[in-house]
């Protein structure tokens, strides 16, 4: 502050002219008194100067609220400049002095009737900014008048004032009918007024998602489009953003809107351009692709997007983030514009990296030569980060465009020749990926790679190189030496390298068993005995056991053919992409996150979706419809797939959780095991008897104690009743509920074990879970989420775990569910993928729910309706099943099923066989009709199911089976 003041003093000396800066200089004590005196002065000029001083103090953060009454006294003036200053003060301090603020009300009311429209507007603008509840009611009358003012400047200010008032007191605004007046303003003759009314309504509508305040219909849209041509650039943005929320009725309407929005693309204001792009991108979804207009539109979109790149780097960056989205959605728009994304020498690094990313997305067979030439240039630039990205990009090109792979590889080899350390390392990492994508094609380069072994110092590059050596061990003469050289400093390596080295040596052993016994023994003992890293240890044990029990299986597992890696990397998930496209030009498009992720939740952010195509041909993922019949099976599951095959194996639950399991094994039995392993395992490999008999396996020594113990535990979770911790919840009456099973074993859940079941109690579907903490630390912050599923099951509330879960503690949780969530057909139908989060991590598991809990209470059909429906459903939809070993009478059966909402409508006895006719309704309205045949004395029942959605039959049958046998 001192510095500030002295600088300001300097300014003061400057010239004899009066300057505002002198107001800042009053730092003496008692200045408040001085100001008070000046404010009460009779001279107008003096008053004005004093108010200026007050505002200056306010700006630098001094508290001048004590002057409130004196400043408000100055309000009654006809000097507009003074009035503005007083209002400025008022806006700042009214909130802290609510009682005093009332003093100002009279002046506001009077000013709102002033003959000068500037004063009327000023008053209405300021009074909305005084966020004091008490005075709002006094403002209603003046506001009402101003909304109907003859001067458009006042009307447009009043329109915004409604939004301000709504924020302070929503109820008041509704009661006073301001919303209707605001709606009328959409038809105002002045485009500025229209634009502000649209902005205000949009904002108010956001806090009432279902109010349909902004009733967008073809008439209003037409009005907006007319106003669009006339209003200021900023107004155009409000209107375009509002248009983007409209869903046209058909492709013709969509086309006509597009035609009227297109001229905005050549606007000089890039915000207008981007808002127009958003509208067009959205409405284009509705246009059939074979339409001529569609092609024209695509062509029109490219130039404005390119023009955005001529702005300042900051804007360029924002533009590139948006273009990145557009290119992912519709690459055809910019496919000919590759050159504009070439990196300029003087671009800031963040712009360079974005451009590089877009270049890769646009790379195709047609332009790959050009792109590669560029990338090669970039790889010799100065900036290390950028060079690395450029080298990676070459690898991505090779993977994306098959025809270019060869050229990419030779480019990479050229780069390796430069011997620049980080270039070589990046090149090796990407060459590994190229090997994965095109196996057995470019192995000739391995020799060159091996030359650079010593220079690699980054874990990722070392790991990549080791992978290559292991994978192609049979073609590298000195593979064992190479790997051995890495083994020397095994414990200093990062985990990534250690794991890779372990796998590579095992691969080598399986390929060249004779020369490498010692090596494999060494690595296994390093990994299992000398390492504290559980991942490494477990992988070591798994190999050990594999090699000792069944070397053939080991070969199958370790040397299995790997799935090809996917072509396109870093793609944004399609549903997210769709949502982001609806937010083009906004912060969401810069962060590449949906608004719900960063805008405060209270606003009720709605997820926007692109409209479905009305035209033929194109299969756009339609927004989910509620009915199960219409479920789409297109989008992939969100649950992340496991890494490679080995990763999968290792992620299975191997050992009981740490707290109960034995301590890490370092026994002498281990040593024995290690020796035996090489005895027997080698024989079987060398003997050529790859038939892999178990007798051979028996020749291997007993595997080390600890792994043996862990392997005796069941390997898969979720299936086995062994884990039935709930002990079979007794279910004398009511709906059948299966016993709890383990869904998330502690091993997979980092110590969190979840077992659970589903039940329907008093018409509410419940998920009953036991959470057990088997880790050493306290768990908190639990939350749960479901993936989309066949029947739209979703949690009806948050997961209630109120107290932290301390180690070894279990807690029973009941989570009520509803069936209004998003729908996606799963396989099997009753599969549910769940994500549970706690303070440690997020865990994914899937479980199957008995479909019987979806059977609703009003599932009893009228007899007549039953008969008609039974006939109506074609015989193709009929499925027949057998229920074996059931010793119940038909009445008992009927009672038991009734408990699970399977209702018997009629019973018929023919030839000693009871025929029960039953109906059931699923939560999504699907009816299932059944005919159950029970023959006295015969434990096998036959059930015949008819349903319009035959895919549920299997599940329903399973429920029959489960209910009847429990």
């Amino acid at each position: 502050m001192q510095e500030w003041a002295s600088q300001l003093c300097e300014n003061r000396q400057f010239g004899s002219k009066m300057t505002d800066s002198k107001y800042f200089t009053t730092t003496k004590k008692g200045e408040i008194f001085e100001l008070k005196a000046e404010l009460n002065s009779d001279k107008k000029e003096k008053k004005k100067e004093a108010v200026k001083k007050v505002i200056a103090s306010m700006t630098v953060g001094k508290d001048v609220s004590a002057l409130f009454p004196d400043v408000v006294n100055c309000m009654q003036t006809d000097n507009l400049e003074l009035k503005k200053l007083v209002y400025l003060y008022l806006m700042n301090y009214a909130k802290s002095q609510p009682d005093m603020a009332i003093m100002a009300v009279n002046t506001f009311v009077k000013d709102c009737e002033d003959p000068n429209p500037l004063i009327r507007a000023l008053a209405v603008r300021t009074m909305g900014c005084i966020r004091v509840d008490k005075i709002t009611e006094y403002l209603c009358e003046p506001l009402r008048k101003c909304l109907k003012d003859e001067d458009p400047y006042v009307r447009k200010t009043a329109a915004v004032c409604v939004a301000k008032l709504h924020d302070i007191n929503a109820q008041l605004v509704e009661d006073q009918g301001f919303l209707d007046t605001l709606k009328d303003l959409i038809s105002d003759s002045n485009p500025m007024v229209v634009a502000n009314a649209v902005a205000a309504l949009s904002e108010i509508a956001e806090s009432h998602p279902n109010s349909n305040l902004l009733d967008l219909n073809p008439q209003t849209i037409n009005k907006l489009l007319t106003a669009l041509n006339e209003c200021t650039e900023w107004g155009q943005i409000f209107i375009l953003d509002c248009l983007a929320n409209y869903t046209p009725r058909d492709d013709r309407e969509s086309q006509s809107i597009c035609e009227r929005v297109t001229p905005r693309l050549s606007h000089a204001n890039s915000a207008v351009v981007l808002s127009a792009v958003k509208v067009l991108m959205k409405f284009m979804e509705m246009l059939p692709k074979d339409l001529d207009y569609y092609g024209t539109l695509l062509k029109k979109l490219a130039p404005p997007l390119v023009t955005l790149l001529s702005a300042e780097p900051e804007l360029q960056y924002v533009a590139l983030r948006n273009i990145n989205l557009i290119v992912q959605r519709r690459p055809e728009i910019l496919k000919h514009e590759m050159k504009v994304f070439f990196v300029k020498y003087n671009d800031p690094i963040y712009v360079k990296l974005e451009k590089l990313d877009i270049m890769i997305r646009l790379a195709s067979q047609a332009n790959i030569a050009q792109v590669l030439a560029e990338l090669k240039e970039y790889a010799t630039e100065v900036d290390v980060d950028f060079v690395r990205k450029a080298v990676r990009a070459i690898g991505r090109c090779a993977i994306k465009v098959e025809q270019s792979a060869e050229r990419c590889v030779s480019t990479l080899l050229d780069l390796i020749q430069t011997k620049v350390n980080y270039v070589v390392q990046e090149a090796i990492v990407v060459i590994k990926d190229i090997f994965r994508k095109y196996p057995n094609k470019y192995e000739s380069v391995i020799a060159t790679l091996c030359e650079n072994l010593d220079s690699l110092d980054e874990p990722e590059a070392r790991a990549a190189m080791i992978w290559i050596v292991g994978e192609y061990a049979e073609r590298i003469d000195n593979a064992d030496e190479l790997l051995e050289s890495f083994l020397e400093g095994f414990h200093d390596e990062s985990t990534q390298v250690q794991l890779q080295l372990l796998t590579a040596i095992v691969k080598l052993f399986l390929k060249k068993p004779t020369e490498t016994q010692e090596l494999v023994q060494q690595v296994l003992s390093l990994a299992t005995q000398d390492s504290d890293n559980p991942d490494l240890r477990d992988r070591g044990y798994i190999y050990w056991r594999l090699l000792s029990t069944d070397p053939v299986a080991a070969k199958e597992v370790v040397l299995a053919e790997k799935p090809l890696i996917s072509e396109e990397t870093d793609l944004i998930e399609p549903t997210l992409l769709e949502e982001l496209i609806c937010h083009i030009g906004t912060l969401a498009s810069v962060y590449h996150k949906p608004p719900s992720a960063f805008v405060e939740g209270s606003r009720g952010v709605q997820h926007k979706r692109l409209p479905g195509s009305a035209g033929s041909g194109e299969s756009v993922e339609s927004p989910d419809t509620g009915s199960a019949a219409g479920v789409s099976d297109a989008p992939p599951a969100v649950i992340p797939s496991q890494g490679d095959l080995l990763g999968d194996l290792l992620n299975l639950d191997l050992t009981p959780p740490a707290t109960t399991g034995p301590p890490p094994p370092a026994t002498s039995g281990m040593q024995l095991g290690a020796m035996d392993l090489l005895g027997g395992g080698l024989d079987s490999l060398l003997g050529g008897d790859l038939g892999g008999s178990s007798a051979m396996g028996a020749g291997f020594g007993a595997p080390p104690a600890a792994p043996a113990a862990s392997f005796s535990a069941p390997v898969s979770g979720g299936l086995d009743d062994l884990f039935d911790l709930g002990g079979g919840v007794g279910m004398p009456m009511g709906a059948y509920s299966p016993p709890k099973t383990v869904w998330l074993p502690a091993m997979k859940g980092k110590g969190l074990e979840i077992s659970g079941t589903f039940a329907r109690r008093a018409g509410v579907i419940q998920m009953e879970m036991t959470l057990t903490n088997k880790a050493m630390s306290v768990m908190t912050d639990f939350a749960i989420q479901f993936n989309r599923n066949s029947f739209g099951l979703a949690p009806a509330g948050p997961l209630q775990v109120l107290t932290p879960l301390s180690p070894n503690q279990s807690i029973e949780v009941t989570l009520p569910l509803n069936t209004v969530g998003p729908v996606m057909k799963m396989d099997p139908l009753n599969n549910l993928q769940v994500a549970v989060k706690n303070n440690i991590d997020v865990f994914y598991f899937s479980c199957q729910y008995p479909i019987s809990m979806l059977f609703v209470e009003d599932g009893k059909m009228e007899r007549q309706v039953f008969l008609a429906t039974w006939k109506d459903i074609s015989n193709d939809n009929e499925a027949q099943f057998q229920i074996k070993d059931c010793h119940l009478s038909s009445d008992a059966v009927s009672n038991k099923l009734q408990g699970s909402n399977i209702f018997t409508i009629a019973k018929r006895t023919v030839d000693g066989q009871d025929m029960l006719y039953q109906s059931t309704k699923l939560s999504n309205g699907i009816w299932v009709l059944a005919e159950l045949r029970v023959q006295t004395g015969n434990p096998t029942f036959t059930v015949c199911l008819k349903c319009r959605a035959p895919e549920v039959s299997q599940c329903v049958f399973q429920s029959y089976d489960a209910v009847l046998k429990n």
């Binding site: 505002d20 915004v160 650039e233 050549s266 100065v382 620049v420 810069v590």
Partner: protein, 434 residues
């Protein structure tokens, strides 16, 4: 929508602070300053978030212009708005500096009150705003026009050989209300070239981004007509007639420009409001009408002593009689120069050699020989010798060939009024690969 707006000095002092929506306190100013000063070079500075608040900022005139928002609003419109706002402040206060802002805070608060309401941008047109603004600007330096006797001689339009001094365009617009103020109009054609020439001398990429900027100090607004080259064409398909048409790929106009005479006569009609505006922007990619202005003939080799030798020959292909000023250049990695008034230096931290050439005449060529001691120089590291970047300023020349045919004001103004047309081409990124 914008929640708060503030202007900070480069040292983080609060110059202006205005809260529009009451969504956050003024303490976020310091949060912003901490964040922005902690940014490293490779992090995009555009949007930064703090809890629920997002900062969008630009730097103009050494000041931070910051807007905050809580909703998912458009960073484009905010950046665009901040740019306009800084332009407006410049127009009103004459220049952009800490001092100018401090001296005119009341005026700036008045402006802020009008341009934004509840965070919604209302207008940024100085024409509209002048009806509402009451305060008078205080100019930081007593404005002295360049020598008036000089001006009297060159009152004619499109002066080619006389350029108005650059200080002429930095003064507050409002002071032109004073009787006796000069009424002047400046029309600048500014082009930025980005060129990539491959190591084999082939032109790989050439782009020109240009704009026509009007700076108006007319007290009252009258209609202005700007005539462009008659053979000016837009888009790839419409070539008119023979010969060297002036062609651009795309152009966009300020919304105040009326284009009814553009199709037929290539005339832009507008009523310029006071202050600075970009009237037209255009872009040309790939096909330049003439050869690129500079060619470089590099040879890089290793001498027997293991030093890196770079021999650079630079040729200017502009028509003779045109001279280029200020031509510093950076090459990928000690030195001998062909003429005395040049200088060169080696910058170790970014591994570049700078060769500065104060002036270069059209049709001439310069050469330089750089010898560098590079430890451990191998044949492979020759590949590392990076591209040569040229930065230059070419006055009175446009890459596209766009010219202003005439500049007419109607009705003709009584009293003296000056019209200035200036052309300049900058290098945006002019890269010659080795």
């Amino acid at each position: 929508m914008i929640s708060q707006l503030f202007i900070l000095s480069s040292k983080g002092d609060h110059l202006i602070y205005k809260d529009y929506r009451g969504e956050a306190g003024s303490d976020v100013i310091d949060v912003f300053y901490e964040k922005v000063t902690a940014l490293t070079g490779d992090q995009p500075p555009v949007v930064m978030s703090h809890k629920d608040l997002h900062f969008v900022h630009i730097r103009q005139g050494g000041l931070y212009w910051v807007a905050t928002t809580t909703a998912d609003s458009s960073p484009f419109s905010i950046i665009e708005f901040l740019n306009r706002l800084s332009g407006l402040v410049k127009d009103y206060c004459g220049s952009l500096s800490e001092k100018a802002i401090q001296m005119n805070f009341a005026l700036i608060y008045e402006l802020l009150d009008e341009v934004l309401d509840y965070g919604y941008v209302q207008t940024t047109s100085s024409d509209v705003l002048k009806n509402f603004i009451q305060s008078e600007a205080v100019s930081s330096k007593p404005f002295s026009l360049f020598d008036l006797s000089n001006v009297g001689l060159f009152g004619a339009e499109t002066q080619q050989n006389k350029v108005a001094p650059s200080s002429a365009a930095t003064r507050p617009i409002q002071s032109s209300r004073d009787p006796g103020g000069k009424s002047e109009i400046f029309v600048d054609v500014i082009e930025k070239m980005s060129v990539v020439i491959g190591s084999n001398g082939v032109l790989m990429k050439a782009d020109i981004e240009g704009e026509i900027r009007v700076k108006c100090y007319m007290p009252s607004c009258s209609e202005m007509r700007i005539g462009l080259n008659e053979e000016f064409s837009v888009g790839k398909s419409q070539l008119r007639g023979y010969g060297a048409a002036v062609r651009v790929d795309e152009c966009s106009f300020h919304q105040s420009v009326q284009l009814d005479e553009f199709q037929s006569h290539r005339i832009l009609r507008l009523c310029p409001s006071q202050g600075e505006h970009t009237v037209m922007q255009y872009r040309l990619s790939d096909e330049l009408p003439s050869a690129p202005p500079f060619r470089l003939f590099p040879s890089v080799e290793r001498d027997s002593a293991g030093r890196l030798l770079m021999y650079l020959k630079l040729r200017c292909d502009l028509p003779p009689k045109r001279s280029v000023s200020l031509l510093p250049e950076g090459a990928g990695l000690s030195q001998e120069l062909s003429s005395p008034d040049q200088s060169a230096e080696l910058q170790l931290q970014n591994r570049t050699v700078f060769w500065k050439i104060p002036r270069l005449c059209g049709g001439t060529q310069l050469s330089a020989l750089f010898k560098l001691d590079v430890p451990g120089l191998s044949s492979a590291s020759m590949l590392e010798v990076g591209p040569v970047g040229l930065s230059f300023e070419l006055p009175k020349w446009t890459g596209t060939g766009l010219q202003i045919r005439f500049l007419r004001l109607s009705p003709v103004h009584p009293g003296p009024s000056q019209r200035w047309v200036r052309y300049v081409t900058h290098s945006d990124s002019y890269i010659i690969r080795i």
